[in-house]
């Protein structure tokens, strides 16, 4: 599991959920509604799927508002 440092977390629709916005490597934002258990230190916990130079492919805990599960983020924006 890795922390997505670029994620911005806000209140969810119910107390057990939060909304996380993740900036991908191209600067676009993905919004995803997640469990409070998927948040640590106000950042999103995601799963690392793979790496290429400069980028990490992460799988979001749930499908994003635009329908994506996996996004490439800058490797400087994640922490183990």
């Amino acid at each position: 599991m890795i922390l997505v440092l670029s994620s911005n977390v806000s209140e969810g629709l119910v107390p057990a959920e939060r909304i996380a916005r993740v900036q991908d490597a191209d600067g676009r934002f993905e919004e995803v509604s997640v469990s409070i258990k998927d948040i640590k230190d106000d950042k999103l916990i995601a799963s690392e799927i793979g790496r290429v130079p400069g980028k990490v492919l992460v799988e979001l805990p749930r499908e994003s508002a635009s329908g994506r599960w996996r996004v490439w983020v800058k490797d400087t924006e994640v922490a183990v």
């Binding site: 629709l13 057990a16 919004e31 258990k37 799963s47 799927i49 793979g50 492919l57 749930r62």
Partner: protein, 186 residues
């Protein structure tokens, strides 16, 4: 393969399935499913049809925020002791009381399905997205639609949906933290 009631209970005991609060009654199980209950939280869509005004939502638009959309167009409601009446042709969001966690290494996924007792009245509890993926955590969001002709009352704590657990063939990539990235599956 679909898990039976006995296998679901074993998986809960082994923490391959985490449910909070856990099923308090054996009656929550059927032979191949586990009932979940309705929480008090609802989001009720406001009427958005105005004569002469054409409103369209496009989730593929860059910057689209479902959260902002729901907060603008769906009122938060809490179901009181009197219940909530789902009107014919209405569409409302709800959540289960129980939070579910399926660790990706459990080799389990699930499907949330309706209950025939409600289906017979015209109540659907999801709209074509029943999969609870391996790794899921949280309460399950439900999409209620009353397809019937009758007003139907929903009460907090009522059995509202059922989970059917299925064994996955293998562990998903995320369960391996990327260590097999780029390798061909065999």
């Amino acid at each position: 393969m679909v898990l039976t009631d006995r296998e679901i209970q074993v998986a809960i005991q082994n923490q391959q399935i985490l449910i909070d609060p856990p099923p308090s009654d054996i009656a929550a199980y059927s032979s191949t499913s586990l009932d979940l209950t309705l929480s008090k939280f609802l989001r009720v869509w406001k009427p958005t049809t105005v004569a002469g005004v054409d409103q369209i939502v496009c989730p593929a638009t860059p910057g689209y925020s479902y959260n902002d959309f729901v907060k603008a167009y769906a009122e938060p409601r809490e179901i009181g002791a009197e219940g909530y009446v789902l009107e014919p042709k209405s569409f409302v969001l709800g959540w289960t009381v129980e939070t579910i966690e399926l660790p990706p290494t459990s080799r389990l996924a699930a499907r949330v399905e309706g209950k025939s007792s409600l289906a017979r009245l015209g109540i659907g509890i999801h709209v074509t997205a029943p999969t609870i993926h391996a790794g899921f955590k949280g309460p399950i969001q439900l999409e209620f639609c009353n397809h019937g002709l009758l007003r139907v009352k929903l009460l907090t704590g009522m059995p509202i949906c059922q989970l059917i657990f299925e064994q996955t063939l293998g562990t998903p990539e995320k369960g391996y933290k990327g260590q097999f990235f780029g390798q061909e599956a065999h």
